[in-house]
Each structure stands twice: as structure tokens, then as C-alpha cells.
Amino acid sequence: MLLHLRRSLVAALFFLVLCGLAYPLAGTGLAQVAFHHQANGSIGPDGSSLIGQQWTGPRWFQGRPSATVGPTGSPSPYDAMASGASNLGPRSTVLASHVAARAAALRKEGITPTAGMVTSSGSGLDPDISPAAAYAQVGAVARARHLPAAAVRRLVTSHISPAQLGFLGEPVVNVLSLNEALARLR
């Protein structure tokens, strides 16, 4: 028993140094040198390309609904300090009422919503929307900005990222890079 205990203590210290310090710190050093941009959060001039943001008003393409909750327990969409999903069940009346309200709000803006536009994401920080969701917003954005719809539509098409290697995951449109390009569109 005492022998086991002494050995356990030595082993625990060895693993603490190897797996808890050397491993993550070597990884951090390597990442900071070789992948500086990614390792620090893929941050550009207006935010991280991997972390979704709240976009308000019809002048911008909207991201997915976000269910993140702030420190006080009240809704705080796209709170990147508090990732999380709604966790509402598939027969939840609360989910149904959220979906109905979101769909009504979008229709009021002249947008026919897709399913992804009325359901919240798994992280609450989804940086992407589906190509269909982007196309659905083209008319409303073009109207608000007094731009020709065809030009906005072309912008969306040029911002579709296909599935990686053609088959991994789903094709997406990154909302931040689309809106940055939109701001540059004359």
C-alpha cells in the first residue's frame, strides 16, 4: 500500500510534467510559430472568421439564431465567453414558439426563411449560414442598400465555400467575410 502510494505520487508528478506542461506548452510554442493566425483565433480587422457575430438590421446578412446566455442568465446572442446550444427538445413548446417568432420576424423583412435561419446552432457562435440562407436574404439586403439584386446575388455565389475536399462537411457561406465584401460593394 505504502509502496503503491509512493509510486503513484512519483508517476503522477511525471505525468503532470509530461502531459500537463511539456505537451501543451510544446504544442503552444509550435502553434504560435507555425500557425500564428489560427492559434490566436483567426482574427481579422472586424473579428474572428470562426466566431459568429450579431448583425442587426436589414443592411447586413444575418447569421443563425444564437442561444448563448450571459452571466446573469439572460439571453446574450453570440456571447463568445459563453458558448452553448438551446438544448430544447424536439417536442418542446418553447422551441416551437421561438421558431414561429423568428420566422415571422424574417417574413416581415421580406425574407422567406430556411430551416437554418430559424433554428439556433450548437455552439451559439456558428460563423456560417447555408448558401440557401444567404440567397434567401439577397432581396432584402439589396433593397435596404439600394443595390441591384443581381450584384448581391453574385457576391453570395462568390462567397460559397464548398465542402472540404469536395465531401467533408457541408458547403457554407461565412457571414463576416460576406458582409465585409458587401460593405465594399458599390
Binding site: 480587422p45 466566431i51 421558431v99 450548437g122 455552439s123 447555408s130
Partner: protein, 563 residues
């Protein structure tokens, strides 16, 4: 169509892992590889261990229990005092006692159930030195137990089953650290963060909004989180968070990492008992169950979400998107969550709570089968070997003959130990769920009402007793009741299975081999594979059907009703 190619790529990589990682694992645990001897030897000297001196099953189990107990204590202490330790840029305070208990048990038992939100609870030092350490060590402990049991079959008339310290050190050094490090590089290259610089504040010039973004040493933790079938992520959203699982590539890599060691261990097992076909038979049983559950869950998630459908507000052509990330969609999310619940991983890349009733049923029942398809690192192999013993016992009963497995006579003691180990998990799940729904503190947990609320409780104890860690995360688990009860369930689900398994290893190692005769039930043939699958399904089905009927089945068949 794209998803079919994802599955082809996964199958191809796993086939290679089975053959080559499997043979590497056998060489590591048979002591045939020594290229890291220069690290090993000083460690053994420090430990005072003679690497060739083997242990009886009692000493092996004793060392394992004492080491795990001390790991539990150290993990608990580290997160209790994190506020006074460095590498804590967010100045997070001590983790409260009940939550620390639950978390320490959770990581030491390879469960990684998380009653906390990582980015707002754990300091960077806690994530690295407390949690990541256990993600390596608990995985190595699991593999060690499996290897000890395999030695029990492989040896004849032996009083020993290996040396726990050597198995532990070799698993971490030769297997887990190198593979995790390589995978960590891919995670970071794809966009996972890896920094100690604290949260970033970004300002969007277009909208005028400012956003504070949690960061940390994530990418390399992600690698061992999956490789060790741990599942505990840096962030609350786990594998759905873009900094943990940024792309389709990392999503598939995660699934590969989760499955590769459990799959490869069946080859290593075959190698060590002298017949690769025996390992292939176990893999076949695992593969049939895995594919059936994957197909079932993927089809379920490709159906509309009933609550969304009830609003008649949108068309749901692509299935259930609530709680899912756009870049993954229902199919890749199903693959990830099934891989994670058919092993003891429990990581999620989509909200399990918001899966369709049958999608949730697929994940829940995957765990209820005991996680053998292919199961956690080590635990998958030793659990399916327990089922194999019960299978040959039932086969022997049918023809009135003492059963054998791999040349070892399976007698009363072996059957009792295997049955005991197999029954621990169901008893814990059913008993703890029954207590939870009977007391106020238990009923206060669920977020959702109706049958889904019951499923949240059932899922929690199924996950913890199986050392899985996956959650219907609507449950408010950070209460005294759930922290304490969950901790006990995880401890029983780990060590009340490991001890009888090691006793079994000792009993088997001591036996002589009986030559196979005409009446021997061949355990490398399809008939055995079919019977093994049958036993696994019947044990799980008979135990859990009533509970599953009250939860996901009621929910599925409540047509037109919301709760």
C-alpha cells in the same frame, strides 16, 4: 453523396489503423519496442519499478486503484486552488467543492462528464495540468486493463498478468503522446486555437459591436480528448465550438481519433492470443452494431424536427438543424455523436438534447449496450471480452458442455466474474435514475418537460455509469445532488467493472490450455459473431426497454403533441 465519401474515407483509415496501429500496440504491450527506452528507464528508476518484475492480479489492481485514487485527489486539489495558481489570465476563482468532486471523478474515470462551462470555470492551468493530464492517464489505465485481460487468455499457468506501472508508462509514451501531438498540429492548422494569452477583444468596424472571445490551449487538448475517448472539451459547446472543431477535416479527424485505438486493439488482441481471426470476429460484432446504429441515427436526424414542423413556418429539407452547426449538418453531426456514444468518448459536435426522439434514442441506446462497438480505449475490448465469455457460456448451456474461449475452460468463477462486471452498469443506471426521479433535487434538474425531461435524467446516469460523458445538456447538473450522485455513478461504472475484470484476468492466466476438439465452439466464425451480437442486444434490451419506453419512445410516438 458527399457523406458516403466521408464514410469511405473513415473505413479506409480505420482499416489501416486496425492492421498497423494494432500490430504496433501489440508490440508496445509485449515489450518488443524499446526505442523510447531512454525515457522509460529513468522513469522506472524513479518509480522504483523493475520493468521485468510482473504482478499478480491483486497487486496490479491495487496499484491501479491507489494510482487512480491519488490522481483523483490531485485533480480535485488543483482545481480547488486554481485561483492562487498562475496561467489564469481570466482570474477565475476556485471551483466549488461539489463540482470539483464531480469533475475530478469524471476525468479520472475517463468519463469527462462536465457540469461546468469550461471557458468560464477552468483556468488554463487547470485545463492543462489537471484535466489534460487525466485525459492521457485515464486512457492509458483503460488500455492497461484490456491488455492485462488479454494476457490472461494468452498465458498458461501464470501467476502474473503484467506490470501496471510499465503498461501505464508505455501506453502514454509510445501510443498516446505521439499520436495526439501529430493530431494536435492538424487541429491548430485547421483553426483550433492554442494560446495562453487570454480572451481576445475584437471590434467590428462595420457594426460598431465589440466582442470578447474566449481562447486558450485548445487544439492539443482536443487531440487527446478524442484519441483517449475522453470527450471533455475546453469549451461548454464542446466539439460544436468552432475553436475546438473548426472544419469538416477536423470533424472527420475527431471521429478517426475516437475509433482508431478501440478498433486497433482487436487486432492487437488477436496478435497476442495467437490468432488474428479471433480479433477480427470481435471487430465484426462491433462493426455490425456500429453501422446499424449509425444508419439509424443518421436517418433519424435527416427527418424534420417535430417542434419546428408544428409551426408550419419553414420547410425542413435537410433534416433537424436545431443545435447543429451549418458546417456539419445532420449527417456529419450524427456520425460524430454516434462515434462518441458507441465509445466512451461523449464529445458532441451538435446538441444531443435537440436531436430528434429517435436520434436521441440512437445515442442513448448506444451507451446502454455497454459501449462495446467499439467502446472506449481498452474498456471497449475488455467489455466485449466479458460478453464473449457470457456468449460461450450460453453456447455451452445449449449443448451441455463446459465452454471454452481461446483454449481456456470457462468455469463457474469466470462466468460469475464476467456476469458481475456486465451487471454493474445497468444496476447503477436504473437505480440512480429511479432515485433521481423520486427526489425533488433530481426532478429539479431537467430543462425540458414531458418525456424528454425524463430522458435527460436517464441519459445523464447512463452516460456517467458508462464513463461516457455525453449529455442531454439541458439538465442542470451543477447541483449538490447531481454532482455527488453522478460522481458515485462514475466511480462504480469504472472501478466496479475493472476489479472483477482483473480478477478474471488472474483466474484465466492461471489456467492451462485445453486443446480444441470436435465439440469446441469456434469463436472465429460468423455463428459466434451472431450469437455475441445477440447476447449484447438482449442484455441491453431486456434491461433498458422499460426505461427507454418511458422516454424517447413515448416522445417519438406522441404524434402532434408538444410538451
Amino acid at each position: 453523396m458527399g457523406f458516403a465519401w466521408t464514410l469511405v474515407a473513415l473505413a479506409a483509415v480505420l482499416a489501416l489503423a486496425w492492421r498497423f496501429l494494432g500490430s504496433y500496440l501489440a508490440a508496445v504491450y509485449q515489450g518488443r519496442l524499446t526505442f523510447l527506452g531512454w525515457v522509460e528507464r529513468p522513469v522506472y528508476r524513479l518509480l522504483g519499478v523493475e520493468p521485468d518484475a510482473e504482478q499478480s492480479w491483486q497487486r496490479y489492481a491495487g496499484a491501479l486503484i491507489v494510482f487512480s485514487g491519488l490522481s483523483l485527489l490531485l485533480t480535485y486539489l488543483l482545481i480547488r486552488v486554481q485561483g492562487s495558481l498562475p496561467v489564469n489570465p481570466q482570474h477565475l476563482g476556485a471551483v466549488p467543492p461539489a463540482l470539483s468532486w464531480n469533475t475530478a471523478v469524471s476525468f479520472v474515470t475517463n468519463t469527462n462528464w462536465q457540469n461546468y462551462a469550461g471557458e468560464s470555470t477552468m483556468s488554463y492551468l487547470s485545463q492543462m495540468a489537471a484535466l489534460t493530464v487525466q485525459q492521457f492517464v485515464s486512457a492509458a489505465v483503460g488500455i492497461a486493463v484490456a491488455v492485462a485481460l488479454v494476457r490472461g487468455f494468452a498465458r498458461r499457468g501464470s501467476a502474473t498478468i503484467g506490470n501496471f506501472w510499465v503498461d501505464l508508462v508505455r501506453g502514454v509514451l509510445y501510443v498516446l503522446v505521439p499520436i495526439a501531438f501529430l493530431a494536435g498540429i492538424v487541429f491548430v492548422a485547421q483553426g483550433a486555437v492554442q494560446t495562453l494569452a487570454g480572451p481576445a477583444v475584437v471590434h467590428n468596424h462595420l457594426t460598431g459591436f465589440t466582442q470578447t472571445i474566449a481562447r486558450g490551449p485548445v487544439g492539443f487538448m482536443e487531440a487527446i480528448k478524442e484519441l483517449g475517448t475522453n470527450g471533455g472539451g475546453f469549451f461548454n459547446a464542446n466539439g460544436a465550438h468552432p475553436f475546438e472543431n473548426p472544419t469538416g477535416v477536423t470533424n472527420l479527424l475527431s471521429v478517426i481519433l475516437i475509433l482508431c485505438i478501440p478498433v486497433a486493439l482487436t487486432y492487437a488482441f488477436g496478435k497476442m492470443v495467437g490468432s488474428v481471426r479471433q480479433g477480427a470476429a470481435l471487430l465484426a460484432a462491433m462493426g455490425v452494431i456500429f453501422c446499424a446504429w449509425l444508419a439509424f441515427t443518421t436517418v433519424a436526424e435527416s427527418q424534420p424536427n417535430p417542434a419546428v414542423a408544428a409551426t408550419h413556418a419553414v420547410a425542413q429539407h435537410h433534416g433537424n438543424l436545431e443545435g447543429k452547426e451549418t458546417r456539419f449538418g445532420p449527417q456529419s453531426s450524427s456520425l460524430y455523436n454516434v462515434a462518441s456514444t458507441q465509445t466512451s468518448t461523449g464529445s458532441v459536435d451538435a446538441s444531443a438534447d435537440s436531436f430528434t426522439p429517435m436520434g436521441g434514442f440512437g445515442m442513448l441506446t448506444g451507451m446502454m449496450l455497454g459501449e462495446v462497438s467499439p467502446g472506449g480505449v481498452g474498456s471497449g475490448l475488455y467489455t466485449i471480452l466479458l460478453f464473449a465469455i457470457i456468449t460461450v457460456f450460453i453456447g455451452g448451456l445449449m449443448i451441455g458442455r463446459t465452454p471454452e474461449y481461446l483454449g481456456k475452460k470457462i468455469q463457474s468463477r469466470e462466468v460469475k466474474l464476467a456476469a458481475l462486471a456486465v451487471l454493474v452498469m445497468p444496476i447503477v443506471v436504473v437505480a440512480f435514475t429511479a432515485v433521481a426521479v423520486s427526489v425533488h433535487a433530481g426532478r429539479a434538474g431537467p430543462l425540458n418537460s414531458g418525456p424528454h425531461g425524463f430522458t435527460e435524467i436517464l441519459y445523464a446516469f447512463t452516460s456517467q455509469a458508462n464513463n461516457n460523458g455525453s449529455a442531454f445538456a439541458g439538465l442542470s447538473g451543477n447541483s449538490a445532488f447531481y454532482n455527488v450522485a453522478g460522481g458515485i455513478a462514475m466511480l462504480l461504472g469504472r472501478f466496479a467493472i475493472i476489479v472483477p475484470t482483473l480478477a478474471l484476468a488472474g483466474a484465466l492466466a492461471a489456467k492451462q490450455v485445453v486443446p480444441a476438439g470436435l465439440g469446441t465452439f469456434r469463436t472465429d466464425k460468423p455463428l459466434f459473431v451472431g450469437l455475441l451480437i445477440g447476447v449484447i442486444l438482449i442484455v441491453g434490451g431486456l434491461t433498458f426497454f422499460p426505461a427507454a419506453a418511458l422516454g424517447p419512445l413515448v416522445e417519438q410516438f406522441s404524434h402532434g403533441r408538444l410538451f
